[in-house]
């Protein structure tokens, strides 16, 4: 009798252990979530999107599959708990691009110079940042994060990516020494030649700080 009970108990324990160990996350599996409602936001959340309308139907105890409570039944035509897509946006995306012409609070008003009019940029644009140690130091930090990969630590166009991406400007070249900060700012913002536009990655001030640092770097390398 006791042996049978022991056997029964041990089988039960092993079964529970197997079930619980299958809660672990795997390569394509998040594992069992604790409080799933908390992992799947009700409001539209940036960087997450669940387009499947039936995802998380099981979470709702009032769902007809689980509930015998016929009065408070949930309407099945409504999307389930985890569904997180904005039907008003293209592809149900939860994020939206800002309206064209939007200016971020605390940012500078856009300057209307054609992207390829470097001559006008060089003539009209003025660096709003101070030429202090701190600004140049910050410019150096930003340069190392956003420019070094191609232009190299000294600006010689020999960054780690230059072995793969050809035609990188040597910022210490004769033609580049002559360029002023306005021109550099315009190139960072809109790109030039093979260089892509970096305006989406850097704020206005950050771009100016980089421009300032590039000029300091050129002086250093001379």
């Amino acid at each position: 009798m006791t042996i049978y009970r022991m056997k029964y108990n041990s089988i039960l324990a092993i079964a529970v252990a197997i079930i619980l160990s299958s809660c672990t996350a795997g390569p394509d599996d998040t594992g069992v979530e604790f409080a799933p409602n908390m992992y799947h936001s009700v409001p539209y959340e940036p960087l997450s999107q669940i387009t499947n309308e039936d995802a998380g139907r099981w979470v709702n105890s009032l769902d007809p599959v689980f509930s015998f409570d016929s009065i408070r039944r949930v309407d099945r035509s409504q999307p389930a708990e985890f569904y997180n897509s904005n039907p008003n946006n293209a592809f149900g995306m939860t994020m939206r691009e800002p309206v064209p012409g939007t200016v971020k609070r605390g940012q500078y008003l856009p300057v209307r110079i054609a992207p390829d009019d470097f001559e006008a940029a060089a003539r009209l644009l003025v660096n709003p940042t101070d030429s202090t140690e701190a600004v140049i130091k910050n410019g150096k930090l930003l340069y190392e994060r956003f420019c070094l990969l191609c232009h190299g630590a000294e600006g010689n166009g020999d960054g780690p990516v230059s072995t793969k991406y050809f035609g990188i400007a040597n910022l210490n070249g004769v033609a580049y020494q002559a360029l002023n900060e306005g021109h550099i700012y315009q190139v960072i913002t809109y790109g030039k030649g093979l260089m892509g536009a970096h305006g989406s990655q850097l704020d206005v001030e950050e771009r100016w700080e980089i421009a300032r640092y590039v000029k300091a770097l050129q002086k250093q390398q001379q």
């Binding site: 041990s10 324990a13 092993i14 529970v16 252990a17 079930i19 619980l20 160990s21 299958s22 809660c23 672990t24 996350a25 795997g26 390569p27 394509d28 599996d29 998040t30 594992g31 069992v32 979530e33 604790f34 409080a35 908390m38 992992y39 936001s41 960087l47 997450s48 999107q49 592809f91 995306m93 190392e144 994060r145 956003f146 070094l148 990969l149 010689n156 166009g157 780690p160 990516v161 793969k164 991406y165 050809f166 035609g167 990188i168 400007a169 040597n170 210490n172 070249g173 004769v174 033609a175 790109g191 030649g193 093979l194 260089m195 892509g196 536009a197 970096h198 989406s200 990655q201 850097l202």
Partner: protein, 433 residues
């Protein structure tokens, strides 16, 4: 007369051919022939190389077409004066209406070459360098590095193969020894049984048998087995229960097989370059395709491969880019990356506060991303994990005036450096509200 003349001609011809043959066969002269390239002074070539690498390589290569045309054997194709005029002021040449200049300008997307005020000597060096480079055989670097990698993998496989064979052989030898020992024991027992002149105690030893059944039913063994069994099951149960809600090791397949090992590892692209929000916002951000295109407008496949990689083609499809013409269409669609790290809504986490203010390295929480082919969740992201770090980590107060008063207050009561827990890092409402 005529006859003599002819013979004369013949002899001189012979003589010439002799001399010619001598020259050809002369090893010293032949050697000089192959190094005929170095008719330039090495110093001039070195100066030219320096100048070329400093000013020209961004748009020109010797054999490949970049922004500007390839410069192989330019000295044979164009006159020196024309070249000098072009280098000093290309726009003037184009404006003068020169046919070749205008067609070149049109062919290369109307990109004008900047004016370079080089002296005659500098141009001399440049042209010398280009000529020397043009005469060199093309190099094939990419292929060799690839082969090395393959060879490395091969040797490591070989060594692991050796280890297994050695182990298998050892096991076989041990089993054989066991069999032989068993045989010896049985032969000896049989021999002893046949002997008549043994006394009782000796016979007892001979007749002795190992009773396995009784051994396994003994209290001690049953107790030990039950104990080990219970302990293992309990451990599995508790471990299993603790994995609920923990997504450590989650490594979803992404729509594009993007490799951090290649981008962040091999090419050392800074994390900030793509994850632009990490120092400014709550979320580090997944880069949009325009950031991919900063490089992938030019890089269309892995090193040494032709054509367009199917994975890079997926970026082009998403933004409706035509790699042939370099034009963008309007039929765009988002790339549906799968989110790896997801904190439940009950807790608040801000990247900017940790990375920009706290100075925490990305790898502290995300692990060796620069070695990951496919990103996986490195840390368990549990509350205990957060709290432990807040207990141990010093606040990054350097150069941050915000903390001045707090540091002062803290120093009054304690000699220890100020930890995150000392500025409320363990308060519930810091993260749960």
């Amino acid at each position: 007369m005529l006859k003599i003349d002819l013979s004369n001609l013949k002899t001189t011809g012979l003589l010439y051919s002799f001399v010619f043959a001598f020259f050809i066969s002369s090893p010293a002269l032949a050697q000089e022939d192959t190094t005929a390239v170095s008719q330039f002074d090495p110093e001039v070539v070195a100066a030219g190389e320096k100048l070329f690498k400093a000013n020209c390589t961004q748009c020109h290569a010797i054999r490949t077409r970049l922004i500007g045309p390839p410069l192989e054997n330019i000295q044979d194709r164009l006159e020196r004066d024309y070249l000098i005029r072009w280098i000093r002021n290309s726009q003037q040449v184009i404006e003068s209406g020169d046919d070749y200049a205008v067609s070149l300008y049109e062919e290369y997307n109307r990109t004008a070459m900047p004016a370079y005020p080089f002296t005659d000597e500098e141009v001399e060096g440049l042209l010398a360098y280009i000529e020397v480079e043009s005469n060199k055989a093309p190099e094939a670097e990419v292929a060799t590095t690839g082969e090395e990698g393959v060879a490395d993998a091969g040797t490591s496989q070989l060594t692991s193969g050796y280890v297994t064979t050695i182990l298998v052989v050892l096991v076989i030898i041990l089993v054989l020894i066991l069999i032989v020992l068993g045989l010896i024991v049985s032969v000896l027992t049989r021999y002893l049984k046949e002997k008549k002149d043994l006394d009782e105690s000796e016979l007892e030893v001979v007749r002795q048998r190992i009773d396995l059944g009784r051994f396994f039913r003994s209290d001690a063994v049953v107790g030990i087995v039950i104990f080990i069994f219970t302990a293992v099951v309990l451990k599995t149960l508790i471990d299993g229960a603790f994995t609920i809600g923990i997504q450590q090791g989650y490594q979803p397949t992404q729509p594009i097989a993007y490799s951090h090992a290649l981008h962040a590892g091999e090419y050392q692209i800074d994390c900030n370059y793509c994850h632009t929000g990490v120092r400014k916002a709550k979320s580090a951000n997944i880069p949009s395709a325009n950031i991919c295109m900063n490089c992938h407008s030019g890089i269309k496949n892995l090193a040494g491969k032709d054509g367009i990689s199917p994975e890079i083609q997926k970026i082009y499809d998403a933004i409706d880019y035509n790699p042939e013409t370099g034009e963008y269409g309007t039929n765009t669609k988002p790339i549906e990356w799968v989110r790896v790290h997801n904190l439940p809504d009950l807790s608040y986490f801000n990247h900017a506060q940790h990375v920009e203010v706290g100075g925490v390295e990305c790898q502290t929480c995300h692990g060796p991303v620069e070695e990951m082919e496919v990103v996986y969740q490195y840390a368990d992201l549990t509350m205990g994990w957060c709290i432990n770090c807040h207990r141990d980590t010093d606040v990054n107060t350097k150069g941050n005036d915000y903390y001045n008063k707090l540091v002062e207050l803290h120093a009054r009561n304690s000699k220890e450096p100020m930890k995150v827990k000392d500025v409320g890092g363990l308060e519930c409402s810091k993260c749960h509200y």
